[in-house]
């Protein structure tokens, strides 16, 4: 009995060499990259600023936090949500046709290669660069933010859309054909029901991500909650920073919860 157990133990593949190589590689890369830490210079000033930030979050500026009007946190949050929402919608409008012409089951291979390369290139440019480019088009403000998020979302939305489109069950279309459906009926009863729940779930996920992006676009002057935060930070007004950060936490937390719920409802009914 014991012999049998031992035999089984001995037959397990020897992976020691493989593990050691992987460990050595990772270790070498770590040592190589540890020079990123060289530029640390913590001063007592830095520590006191850190303490001030903490204090600012605990005792936020309540007039800013609960204030109405154009500069109150509530309005800024509304603006940020609007930017993210509109950005997702516009992005989806551009991404839907783009993903149909990049799906291998719809168009021939050479075209797919070209469109996928375009999508990849669109994704690489950092959002802040798009922000600066769109400010030239629309002028500074939330409008530039909307267009930036629209372009930034195209990459991810179309990548996921393509996967959904390529998973289309063609059997349903064939049976609709056999039943004598017209083209419109085939799209309405064969294609849309298969795609819609996945599409909405992808958009909800992207909206969640866009909201995070929208909070930082203020850095380049593209509207949202980011700009007042940067101003408050560079003016060392930590109580205002605290108020805005609290608003941000609540916003992202609530939206994430809602989008999770929506996606679970869509996936599991």
């Amino acid at each position: 009995m014991n012999k049998k157990l031992e035999d089984v133990l001995l037959t397990q593949p020897k992976r020691a060499k493989y593990y050691i190589t992987a460990a050595v590689l990772v270790l070498a890369m770590l040592i190589w990259s540890s020079s990123a830490l060289n530029q640390m210079h913590v001063t007592s000033k830095g520590l006191s600023i850190g303490w001030n930030i903490l204090e600012g979050i605990i005792t936020p500026d309540t007039t800013l936090l609960f204030g109405g009007g154009d500069s109150g946190v509530a309005y800024l949050i509304l603006q940020t949500i609007s930017i993210a929402f509109l950005g997702t919608i516009v992005g989806a409008f551009i991404a839907v046709p783009l993903s149909f012409i990049s799906a291998t089951n719809i168009v021939p291979k050479p075209i797919v290669v070209i469109t996928r390369f375009v999508i990849m290139a669109i994704r690489t440019v950092p959002s802040l660069v798009y922000g600066l480019m769109f400010i030239r088009v629309t002028g500074p403000g939330p409008f530039a933010g909307v267009m930036t998020l629209a372009v930034v979302s195209i990459g991810m939305i179309s990548k996921l859309f393509i996967e959904t489109i390529e998973d289309l069950d063609s059997g349903i279309l064939e049976s609709l054909d056999a039943a004598g459906s017209t083209l419109f009926q085939k799209i309405r009863y064969g294609v849309l029901p298969q795609l819609s729940s996945d599409f909405i779930s992808i958009l909800a996920y992207r909206f969640d991500m866009n909201l995070r992006e929208a909070t930082i676009l203020g850095l380049v002057g593209a509207g949202g909650i980011g700009a007042p935060m940067i101003f408050a930070m560079s003016g060392y007004e930590w109580h205002k920073v605290g108020a805005i950060l609290i608003g941000l936490f609540i916003l992202i937390f609530v939206i994430e919860y809602l989008s999770d719920k929506l996606r679970q409802y869509l996936l599991h009914g």
Partner: protein
């Protein structure tokens, strides 16, 4: 939704066997109306206008055309910041993923059987995740001074929260049979965890960490915007000086680096799964 059904009466059908069935009125108008309201509010708040977009869109292509041809002679000065960016992302992602493991274990309710500990650990993860990386980097530059260290800290925080969340959700779905069997034979909890649960989560853990690393390279590129080191510093500088051909060169190098790292990590992830 009862008020809605009262307003629009469900359609009644009488079947041949005398039974009646009802079909509820379609929800589509309600959803469309809600969407329209939200859309209008957003358009008003953001000042979105299609005419402006169409008349001024040529400006976008003008800026875009300025990026070409990229100034190849500028490449030697791009190299060092690019390497810095990759170093930052690797170091931050590695330690972030490492620290995510204990947090994930504390958050998973099938391994840590204490509601309070679970809640606290999850709260920490959520707080770290809601903080936008760029804001974290900005705060880090105030505390640790300008440079790559601040960026590494921001990436560390993001990786830890991202990997932590994915991992604890995965730990909660693993097969607990072997773990319970080992506990029953008298092994202590850490020992049983390492021998039974860890092998189950290892592929997912590694592939999530790689995925975080992939995203971080892309993200580290803009951290320089707030002075947190890497390629974003020169990007910001060249945009400020309107040297768009140098900007084009930076973007091309970034594109190549991102594509290389993504392909490599995708191959690794495919191998893992």
């Amino acid at each position: 939704m009862r008020w809605y059904d009262k307003l629009f009466k469900p359609k009644k059908f009488t079947l041949t066997n005398g039974k009646t069935v009802s079909q509820k009125f379609t929800r589509a108008p309600l959803i469309l109306l809600l969407l329209l309201v939200v859309l209008i509010i957003s358009v008003v708040v953001t000042g979105f206008s299609l005419p402006t977009l169409f008349t001024n869109f040529t400006q976008f292509w003008i800026v875009f055309a300025d990026l070409f041809p990229p100034k190849w002679s500028y490449f030697p000065s791009v190299w060092q910041p690019l390497i810095d960016t990759i170093k930052m992302s690797f170091f931050g992602s590695f330690f972030g993923a490492l620290c995510a493991l204990p947090l994930a274990i504390l958050s998973a309710n099938n391994v840590t059987n204490s509601r309070v500990v679970n809640l606290v650990a999850r709260f920490v993860l959520t707080i770290m995740r809601t903080l936008p990386t760029l804001v974290a980097a900005l705060i880090a530059t105030y505390i640790f001074g300008l440079g790559t260290f601040a960026g590494t800290v921001a990436i560390f925080i993001f990786s830890m929260s991202f990997v932590g969340k994915q991992l604890f959700e995965y730990i909660e779905t693993v097969n607990m049979g072997a773990y319970e069997a080992l506990i029953a034979t008298g092994a202590n909890a850490p020992r049983s965890f390492v021998t039974t649960i860890f092998p189950q989560i290892l592929p997912t853990y590694l592939s999530t960490s790689l995925f975080a690393f992939e995203g971080n390279v892309r993200y580290a590129a803009i951290l320089g915007y707030v002075g947190a080191g890497g390629i974003g510093m020169i990007l910001n500088q060249k945009i400020g000086w309107r040297e768009f051909q140098s900007v084009g060169m930076i973007l091309v190098s970034l594109f190549v680096a991102v594509v290389l790292i993504e392909t490599l990590s995708q191959q690794l992830r495919k191998y893992l799964s």
